[in-house]
């Protein structure tokens, strides 16, 4: 589901989005960008003006991916209900969903889709895909279309989140969900090992101690788990660097920055946990999905994860909500952040764009409706109370949080440690995929080779990453 959220990224500047949007919206008629080949900005009628929301009478069909598949009965039911509800306001808009049985987005498939320009009108991406989508000229600049009329709660959306969907002041997508990485724990294993599940380890030393105790339970249980394959190893190595205030690429974006004391600390800590304490399990070369399977079957005490993994594990792997808790990332200096969103295919008609925005606003960006209709979510037996997505500010946040607590289907206090100690989010490095590929080797070296030479692993990786960064 989120395997690829660590893809290439762009460091979003701290743009104050709302004002930029308003300005652009005002100037839209005159500044319609030259690369846009549709007719926005040319007409004078209300229909052609991008700033005016969709006329409810408009007849148009939009295609959209990542509709829940038949196997996810409850979610599909909600989707259909939402389409019906949406059609009460916009009776002539046909929302044509496409579903995917597995992950909505897998990198090779996504790449192929962009190359072939076969994406639907509205397509699902991760925040980190923006650069790739723009390289392939795949997304519509929707700056002029998005304003407080078409998306009434625009001002309450976290500008950092919107910022990840912007480039050069232009907006290319609307968020669905966001995440910040924390420490996911298995509460029953914590209790069995005599640890307090309400106080997840806050430092890496605590993690090590706790992991050792949990692994001591025996029967193939490991205390702490990490990835080391399919580029997810490098992704988590990056997360650990961030958690200690380190970085993977320096500020210039041209030099590797992980071959330092912090990098060494991360590597040595993992090596000690794997080989001295034997608290990380024998099976390595894991990738996204593997640790989830382990913790869902009570074989793993903790690992770094985003909160939405919990819903995934309960729905797909048959785990129980009560069994999980979450704390902030150990170390707590910075944490990897990201999310997913929908973009709109470049070159479709302005009515389609407006219809798409109207649908996304209704489904994903309205407090109390669509994905934020927690009352219905609870009635359908789906999880309420997972702390994310949460990109609201101000009034919207207050309202949404209250509804979440009111309809919670799981003990919300299990996430108290995570909620009460927010850690500053930090985006992924440039050329993330290539760097992660290199760092995978550091991870797999530490975790599969008892005699791994940490200094050598790090310095080799440094040379390799420098080459990657030089080749841009």
């Amino acid at each position: 589901m989120r395997r690829a959220r660590f893809r290439r990224t762009r460091r979003a500047g701290a743009v104050t989005l709302v004002s930029a949007l308003t300005l652009t919206a005002l100037a839209a008629c005159g500044t319609s960008s030259s690369s846009d080949d549709d007719d926005n900005g040319n007409g004078n009628s209300a229909n052609a003006d991008p700033a005016v929301p969709l006329d409810p009478k408009t007849k148009v069909t939009i295609t959209i991916d990542c509709m829940p598949p038949a196997a996810k009965k409850a979610e599909l039911k909600e989707w259909n209900e939402d389409v019906e509800e949406f059609n009460k306001t916009y009776p002539n808009v046909t929302v044509q969903g496409r579903s995917t049985p597995g992950q909505c987005l897998e990198p090779p498939r996504f790449t192929a889709m962009l190359k072939a320009k076969s994406q639907p009108d509205v397509f699902y991406t991760y925040f980190t895909d923006l650069a790739q989508v723009l390289d392939n000229d795949g997304a519509q600049d929707i700056t002029a279309y998005v304003n407080d009329k078409s998306v009434p709660l625009l001002k309450d959306i976290d500008p950092d989140v919107l910022g990840s969907l912007q480039q050069d002041g232009k907006l290319y997508g609307l968020p669905t969900s966001n995440y910040r990485m924390g420490l996911l724990i298995n509460r029953s294993l914590f209790e069995k090992a005599g640890l307090d599940p309400d106080a997840p380890p806050a430092t890496w030393e605590d993690v090590r101690t706790a992991a050792k105790k949990i692994a001591g339970l025996g029967g193939g249980v490991s205390g702490f788990g990490e990835y080391s394959a399919a580029n997810t190893g490098g992704w988590h190595f990056t997360a650990q660097m961030y958690s200690l205030g380190g970085d993977v690429v320096d500020a210039s974006g041209k030099k590797a920055a992980f071959n330092d004391a912090i990098g060494k600390q991360v590597a040595e800590n993992l090596h000690a946990m794997r080989w001295e304490d034997d608290s990380m399990g024998k099976t390595q070369l894991l990738k996204w999905g593997d640790l989830q399977k382990q913790i869902a079957t009570d074989k793993l005490g903790m690992f770094l994860a985003a909160p939405d993994d919990i819903a995934y594990m309960v729905q797909q792997l048959g785990a129980k909500y009560e069994n999980f808790g979450m704390g902030p990332i150990p170390g707590g200096k910075n944490t990897l952040s990201g999310g997913n969103n929908y973009m709109i295919k470049k070159g479709i008609s302005s009515d389609k764009i407006k219809a798409a925005i109207a649908w996304l606003d209704f489904k994903n960006l309205s407090v109390g409706k669509g994905q934020f209709d927690w009352e219905r979510t609870k009635a359908d037996g789906l999880p309420v109370g997972v702390p994310q997505p949460n990109f609201w500010l101000n009034d919207s946040k207050t309202k949404d949080d209250a509804a979440r607590t009111r309809y919670a289907t799981m003990p919300v206090q299990n996430f108290k440690a995570f909620m009460d100690n927010p850690v500053q989010g930090k985006a992924e490095p440039p050329k993330a995929q290539e760097i992660y590929k290199v760092l995978d080797n550091v991870m797999s070296g530490i975790l599969t080779n008892k005699n791994a030479d940490v200094d050598k692993l790090l310095s080799t990786a440094e040379t390799q990453v420098n080459q990657v960064l030089a080749n841009q």
Partner: protein
């Protein structure tokens, strides 16, 4: 077995020889059974375990409790019925294209001998020398935008069918077989006024049944087992083949359900094989020797 092999019949006839023979035989049979059926047993039984038991250390040889519903769950969650149908559709489509186009080409090259025929055959055979995986990238880019006709074949069965025709090995096998058909036979037919198509249909094809069988098996098995190419050109999950579909869903189901899915995915070809084993094995040996 009437043929004489390494060990002389005389040595086997001696009591000591016979004992040794049976000992070796028993040992090999047991060893092979374990080596080749053991993993399959582990697969079938793993699919019957609970999620917990499937990932238990140490593992169990016999499931503690039997859960056939894993198989149903795998069937539903992974939508195996659709994946199977897709694969059959691609495989038999590819078979049809290969039988029609490759047989026609081989017949033409062998018996009709067009101008430049040798050069064309040579160019076809050169492709055998080019590793398939090297060509994956340019082939993929071609499928994205087929020149001249300017079509994008991504997610379309044509992306499997048309490239499958470029099977120089099959053309070569067919041509060699056609070459061995005595020309008197064809000459007699064309003297009777039969056109080329008629000669192909009523003289060549009936004689060529064995080689057609071999080529068909290669064609179907080729599509059935291919992984990288269908993964790239059929990215839409609803149109994927069984091999790719299972891979892309592997991380999103519990281990026991995944193992159950593997068992289900293995069944069709295994059954086919057990039923037609004689034909398949003799066909493959014949084809292999000819190659």
């Amino acid at each position: 077995m009437s043929t004489r092999t390494l060990i002389s019949p005389a040595a086997l006839a001696r009591p000591r020889g016979r004992l040794l023979y049976w000992l070796c035989f028993a040992l090999v049979v047991v060893l092979f059974t374990l080596a080749f059926l053991g993993p399959l047993y582990w697969m079938v039984s793993g699919g019957l375990k609970t999620t917990q038991e499937a990932v238990q250390t140490p593992p169990t040889w016999v499931p503690g409790s039997v859960h056939p519903e894993n198989y149903r769950r795998a069937w539903e969650v992974m939508d195996l019925a659709r994946l199977l149908l897709n694969t059959l559709y691609y495989a038999f489509g590819a078979l049809a294209f290969q039988l029609v186009l490759d047989v026609a080409a081989a017949y033409s090259l062998s018996k009709l001998r067009p101008a430049l025929g040798k050069a064309i055959l040579g160019m076809m055979l050169v492709t055998l020398m080019i590793p398939a995986t090297v060509l994956v990238v340019p082939q993929y880019l071609t499928v994205l935008d087929v020149p001249i006709v300017e079509r994008n074949l991504l997610n379309s069965p044509w992306a499997i069918w048309l490239p499958s025709v470029t099977n120089a090995f099959n053309i070569f096998l067919l041509k060699r077989f056609f070459d061995s058909i005595p020309k008197e036979l064809l000459d007699a037919a064309s003297m009777d006024g039969a056109g080329s198509l008629r000669v192909l249909w009523s003289v060549v094809l009936p004689i060529s049944r064995p080689i057609l069988g071999v080529v068909s098996i290669f064609a179907v098995v080729g599509v059935w087992k291919d992984f990288l190419w269908p993964m790239l050109v059929l990215p839409d999950p609803t149109g994927q083949t069984l091999a790719v579909g299972i891979y892309s869903l592997a991380t999103s189901v519990p281990e026991n359900v995944l193992i159950a899915a593997l068992t289900i995915a293995s069944l069709p070809t295994l059954l086919l094989f057990l039923v037609f084993q004689r034909n398949i094995m003799s066909g493959l040996t014949a084809g292999g020797l000819k190659g």
